[in-house]
Amino acid sequence: MNLTVNNQSLLLALGLVMIALAIGWHEKLGIDRDMIVGVVRAVIQLFVVGYLLKYIFRVNNVWLTATLILIIIFNAGYNAKQRSNGIPHALPISVGAILISTAVTLGVLMAAGAIAFIPSQMIPIAGMIASNSMVAIGLCYRNLNTQFKQERQAVLEKLALGADLKDASREIVRASIKTGMQPTIDSAKTMGIVSLPGMMSGLIFAGVDPVRAIKYQIMVIFMLTSATSIGSVLACYWAYREFYNERKQLVGPLN
């Protein structure tokens, strides 16, 4: 039996939010307002995007599709920048890293014939890639900030011995790239055992044979591994230099 979500069932499902609100109210968590705003925003944003996508899928114009993908990439870059805690040039670094990681991954998928340049495939896939890249880059920034603070003395000593910036930052950059990629690797390890992830669940919901659905999911794992690694490497290698000034001196803690 295929399930259908109609407006009536959505209204009933709203009861689930009421449970969360009741818990928040009973435990005095003080998050009632945030929760209501969050739910209302999600509903409005999803409705808007739903109608927008419907229009774009129908129009099926290359330029419109490309523009929407660029908007997704810019938004992802802007959000990653928000997690940079003041690292200079974090916006161009984030947008650049997400743009390249998305372009490379989409390019390989298209070359392999896994997806075609049609909006109903490109836009959701680009969104998945960009959002995972965004989270990875955000984690990279957090780790760079923490490590440059914690390892300040070691970095200074390496500089004092005549190390160039790359040698002085090598361990920090490596650790940060690893931090960025870790969630994707961890989730790949538990895939199918703990989580039946979004794309696969969605396909199964829509009545697709689970054996076909896992093939899509495997593709998603491959593309997210590639996207987060490219995004993390680029962002870390571009961002670490921002912790030094033009005289190749370590600048003070950025926050």
Partner: protein, 217 residues
């Protein structure tokens, strides 16, 4: 011509002056001892000389050329700075003695490393000793060796004997005497130790960011 020439060097953070009007000339092969009360600007001064900080005013020349004309990395390989309570890198003593070679992409001179370890009272087998197993005195010796595995022209020492016992202190000073006397490395050493101050060849005293004695030769 002096090796290092500082003219009216100043450093300030925001509106707060840390160093003011520093005039100091140091010749090649000299051993200069820097002393003065804590917070007087000694570490800031040597970090400026080591190119880890940039002065906010005045002129600093090394071997007749403005420090601004040097590539900072190449300069720091000639003017090496050793910290109080150094951090050792990696896992083993080898990782530390190898570091100066790695950053220059030179092959590691193991023979020289072993000779250096033996000179400081360690053995060839200590090359693969974990840094966490070294005593405080051994750590400081290894850290100093790291600075001189490939000879610099100037060695800056920021209270490198602070926190060491009398025996280790004496040993580290004998190492530095060797670097200065036998190898001709110019030494600039910060110290609070009265014995070291009393034995100074040239004593420069810094109080409240100004040189109060020993600036002029």
């Amino acid at each position: 011509m002096s090796l290092l020439e500082l003219k009216q060097v100043g450093y300030q953070v925001g509106e707060t002056p840390i160093l003011q009007g520093i005039d100091l000339t140091i010749d090649a092969g000299e051993w200069v001892t820097l002393s003065g009360p804590s917070g007087g600007g000694k570490s800031t001064l040597v970090r400026i000389i080591a190119s880890l900080l940039t002065r906010t005013s005045g002129d600093l020349r090394f071997a007749g050329q403005s420090i601004d004309d040097y590539d900072p990395i190449a300069y720091r390989r000639r003017v090496s700075y050793s910290f109080q309570q150094p951090t050792l890198f990696g896992e083993t003593v080898r990782d530390n003695l190898q570091f100066p070679y790695q950053i220059r992409q030179f092959p590691f001179d193991q023979q020289r490393a072993v000779a250096a370890l033996e000179y400081v009272g360690l053995t060839a087998s200590d090359l693969d000793k974990a840094v966490v197993d070294l005593s405080g005195g051994q750590r400081q010796r290894v850290a100093l060796l790291r600075n001189v595995m490939i000879y610099p022209e100037v060695l800056i020492l920021d209270e490198v004997t602070a926190g060491l016992d009398a025996e280790n202190k004496a040993f580290v000073w004998s190492m530095i005497r060797h670097f200065n006397g036998d190898d001709g490395i110019t030494v600039i050493a910060i110290t609070h130790d009265q014995t070291e101050i009393a034995a100074a060849q040239r004593l420069v005293t810094l109080v409240n960011g100004r040189i109060v004695a020993g600036g002029a030769q």
